[in-house]
Symmetry: C2
């Protein structure tokens, strides 16, 4: 992973949101948190500290290392490219990116050794023009236009989520096998031969003409499931039990 | 937008999480919420109802239309493809998808008229095997493996976020101009000619040899910013003011 962007919360009002932000950062591999003029003065009193810690669900490390600044320019002085998150269109001419487009830009900059940061405004009001003018670009998260207001920590989560996804190598879509072994073609063919014989014996096929397409359909279902060796064995057992039941029933 | 997936919360414990789930759904264009055996019996008492409503930040419509079921099979009986969200690898052989891979699959099914749903387990414990066996596939969100536990509503948000992004046409990266008009090449060239003349007069260029590359560098900065007509006019004013100041200073 490249060095993650610094997360800057401007004038956060609720210690719960600071805690939940730390949790979202830890979930998504972000680590450096800076707070600008938080409503409750730091170091926090015991009650506030506990409320923040509860909301963080154990992301203590990030809270412990969080840095507090009196002003936004102080908080971002060392950064080389800054993104301002906002849901609003301001009257300034600005580069505006979706999170999905901003992340490759961030990764390229981080790979270049640039120190980048993402600013988030205070609850309800968000970032104002005086904050946004300190950024190089804006990030706006595409959301339902009639209900676009996100909780502060959820906005951080979505940025972190995109950051993590862009660098994660989890297979997009696969079958988890655990210790199981996928069935071979021979396993399938043996099973289909037995299935056909048992169905023939049971009078399943109404006509010789229809038989091939009916068999293909049955094969198709089981092949689409991509069975394991163990599953094929279990279905052999199912065949045996059904055939035995039928013989008992007809005896 | 295609018909969104139904969101199913299995045994949710906290009314705040139900409210925040409704908010996340509304943010991301999801609309149908089903609750299986919630801890607090429905209809909720006044205190619980108010706590849920506060957490939903106005997503009343979704809460009002939420349906309550006694069992999971009842809640999903009409669905045709079901995804189970889980952070854990169970011992079952299962198709596992990232949210980003699951969404195109959902959209294709929805486009096909299939009714699809996504199940979320209760806080702390998540979905167990008896729930997961009722799904066609699992969704696992790639997250920091040593800190992967998400709040319930945040898990819903990430699925909804991917759903919304996949169907949203917001430009990924553009310059917001408001009412402004981008400068033409002539605007740039006129400005650069004046800049060169004023810098010549001010003795800026140390040598004729270096002049072309110094000019290119200045041009490059301003062109990279993709200026508007108004910005070019403003920079003309800056030139005039600076040159006037110099003349006054040297008078």
């Amino acid at each position: 992973m490249k060095t993650p962007p610094v997360i800057i919360l401007v004038e956060p009002q609720l210690v719960e949101n600071i805690g939940m932000t730390a949790r979202a950062m830890m979930n998504t591999g972000l680590c450096e948190l800076r707070l600008v003029d938080p409503r409750d003065p730091w170091p926090l009193g015991e009650v506030h500290r506990q409320r923040m810690a509860a909301a963080s669900s154990g992301a203590d490390e990030i809270l412990h290392n969080a840095k507090i600044f009196a002003t936004l320019p102080d908080a971002i002085a060392d950064l080389q490219y800054i993104y301002a998150t906002t849901g609003r269109t301001h009257d300034m001419v600005n580069r505006i990116m979706t999170p999905r487009a901003a992340i490759p830009d961030m990764i390229a900059r981080a790979g270049n050794g640039e120190k980048v940061g993402v600013m988030f405004g205070r609850e309800r009001t968000g970032l104002v023009n005086d904050h946004i003018v300190l950024a190089n670009a804006k990030i706006t998260i595409p959301l339902n236009p009639v209900f676009a207001s996100l909780n502060l920590a959820q906005a951080v989560l979505l940025i972190g989520y995109e950051w993590y996804q862009a660098q994660d190598a989890t297979p997009a879509d696969y079958v988890h096998l655990g210790g199981s072994v996928p069935a071979t073609r021979e396993d399938y063919l043996n099973f289909f031969r037995r299935l056909e014989a048992e169905l023939d014996a049971g009078g399943f096929f109404v006509s010789e003409e229809m038989k091939p397409s009916m068999l293909r359909s049955l094969q198709n279902t089981l092949q689409r499931a991509a069975m394991t060796e163990q599953e094929v064995r279990t279905w052999h057992g199912v065949l045996t039990a059904l055939a035995a039941g039928k013989r008992k029933g007809s005896a």
